[in-house]
């Protein structure tokens, strides 16, 4: 009889313990996901020699940060989560143009929606930098295209050729 009671109590205790741990995990999702994001991002930044792995980890970190702001959009780490998400997008090794746009979106969330954040100035600075990099890239492309254009002489020859044909 006593053994039976001890057994029942132990089971009950275990159920309570497991459920309270599960509950605690649930309510702390905003900070747990954020912390996991930071850890994963740090790990990714050390993988510069393995770009595939780096991309995989950065995408994983983005998922953690996104979960943190989904669970609790106005938490005390929300601005930092958006800022670090932008950092992850900027460091993704492939699809640079698309990922830069996603980074800008994250910076804009901080500027427009969390205007007292300590990350606002940095976010503005980063958007400016991305824009100016894009402009430089575009200018370089244009000048490259110009150098590829056929010279007047070759055009002349081509016209001659066409006319003779």
């Amino acid at each position: 009889m006593i053994k039976n009671n001890i057994f029942k109590s132990t089971i009950l205790f275990l159920i309570l313990a497991v459920s309270s741990i599960a509950f605690a995990t649930d309510v702390k999702d905003w900070i747990n996901n954020f912390n996991n994001g930071v850890k994963t991002m740090d790990k990714a930044m050390g993988m510069k020699k393995d770009l595939i792995k780096m991309e995989e980890l950065l995408l994983e970190a983005i998922t953690y940060f996104q979960k943190s702001v989904d669970v609790y959009p106005n938490s005390l780490v929300a601005d930092e989560a958006h800022f670090l998400m932008a950092k992850c997008y900027m460091n993704l090794p492939f699809n640079k143009t698309a990922n830069m746009k996603k980074a800008v979106q994250q910076y804009e969330i901080i500027i427009e929606y969390i205007p007292l954040s300590k990350y606002v100035d940095k976010a503005k600075e980063m958007i400016e930098k991305i824009k100016s990099d894009e402009k430089t890239k575009l200018n370089n492309q244009n000048s490259e295209d110009k150098t590829k254009l056929p010279s007047d002489k070759s055009l002349e020859n081509e016209t001659k050729y066409l006319s003779t044909k």
Binding site: W30, N74, L76, D79
Partner: protein, 339 residues
């Protein structure tokens, strides 16, 4: 020797008294800075959040049974009296523990031409460790500068007046900011969304009732008075910087005009009967596009000019600028129809 000692003690006593008097004078000076007569004849809409939810939900309640709507109402009623004593006209969206429609709350502020809409709330979250003050504003910060001005002062006063010493370790009050309602809902919160075209507004969340320590404070009338004082100080500080505005002169607001018009005339006032604004702070848009304009600070006339005729349909003018005290014009809805 004894005489010298007595003389020294007398000197120390005189110096101590003087320093005490100085501190007291400084305090008086600080109080004098906040001249509440500025509130006279101001129309302030107070919106105690929620109401009569005891039988409907079980999440707007702290661990010891204190309900959010009760705290909201207590703080609002204390604030109402403080504001009325200072000569303000106070519009209340609810006076008892009753459920009031969100559109009704906003309409009450609009119909009474309120100068500002202040929604008083307290926060709750499943994580009971969380506690910090926050203020919500509607939409994007650059499009709602007057509400941002108010929200910043309110957050500053929450931090100054209220107790958050029990905040989670690893965080500081500096981390607590002001947040757009768009982070929570795509459309924002109904009360500040609906009042946005008419007046600045904000939702104050002075603490988390879900945090057991904060709940114990929020239950006390003395603590509610401190919170009401934070709102009061904010309103005094905000209004003391003037309430600048812009009005549509030609074409008139909501009028119908031909597409041959080549200019729009607005008149700006800085809130002190003059027309002084920071020249770098102007944002002038017509139908969401930046517009060419010229401003005359002597008359307050702002003229928008177009290179091409306006397209037929609704024409919306967005304007904001900061007066010399730093308060921004609230970009009220200014529109007319082009035929």
């Amino acid at each position: 020797m004894q005489r010298k000692l007595i003389l020294l003690l007398i000197i120390i006593f005189i110096l101590f008294s003087c320093s005490k008097a100085t501190i007291s004078n400084l305090k008086n000076l600080q109080e004098k800075k906040l001249d509440s007569s500025i509130l006279k004849d101001r129309i302030i809409c107070l919106d105690p959040g929620h109401g009569d939810t005891a039988g409907k939900d079980n999440f707007r309640v702290g661990v010891s049974g204190e309900r959010e709507e009760w705290i909201n109402l207590r703080v609002s009623m204390i604030l109402k009296k403080m504001l009325e004593d200072a000569g303000a006209k106070v519009i209340m969206t609810r006076m008892g523990d009753v459920d009031v429609d969100l559109a009704y709350r906003a309409n009450k502020a609009i119909e009474n031409y309120a100068d500002i809409f202040v929604s008083i709330h307290h926060n709750g979250t499943p994580d009971r460790d969380v506690d910090y003050p926050l203020v919500f504003f509607y939409g994007k910060a650059p499009e709602n500068p007057a509400s941002i001005d108010f929200a910043k002062i309110l957050q500053k006063n929450f931090k100054k007046r209220l107790n958050f010493k029990h905040m989670m370790s690893g965080f500081s009050l500096d981390d607590a900011g002001i947040y757009s309602d768009h982070l929570i809902y795509k459309e924002g919160f109904a009360v500040i969304r609906k009042t946005y075209p008419y007046m600045p507004g904000a939702i104050g969340e002075a603490g988390f009732f879900s945090n057991p320590t904060q709940e114990q404070y929020l239950k006390q009338k003395e603590y509610n008075e401190l919170e009401a004082q934070a709102y009061f100080d904010t309103l005094v500080e905000y209004f003391s910087k003037g309430l600048p505005y812009a009005e549509l002169i030609s074409p008139e607001k909501n009028s119908e005009v031909s597409n041959k018009i080549s200019t729009i005339l607005l008149r700006l006032c800085d809130g002190f009967g003059e027309h002084y604004f920071d020249s770098n702070s102007f944002v002038v848009k017509v139908n969401n596009e930046s517009a060419k304009y010229s401003y005359d600070l002597l008359t307050g006339n702002l003229i928008i000019t177009f290179d091409e005729p306006l397209k037929p349909g609704e024409c919306k003018v967005f304007i904001t600028a900061r007066n010399l005290k730093g308060n921004a014009i609230h970009p009220k809805e200014l529109k007319f129809k082009v035929l």
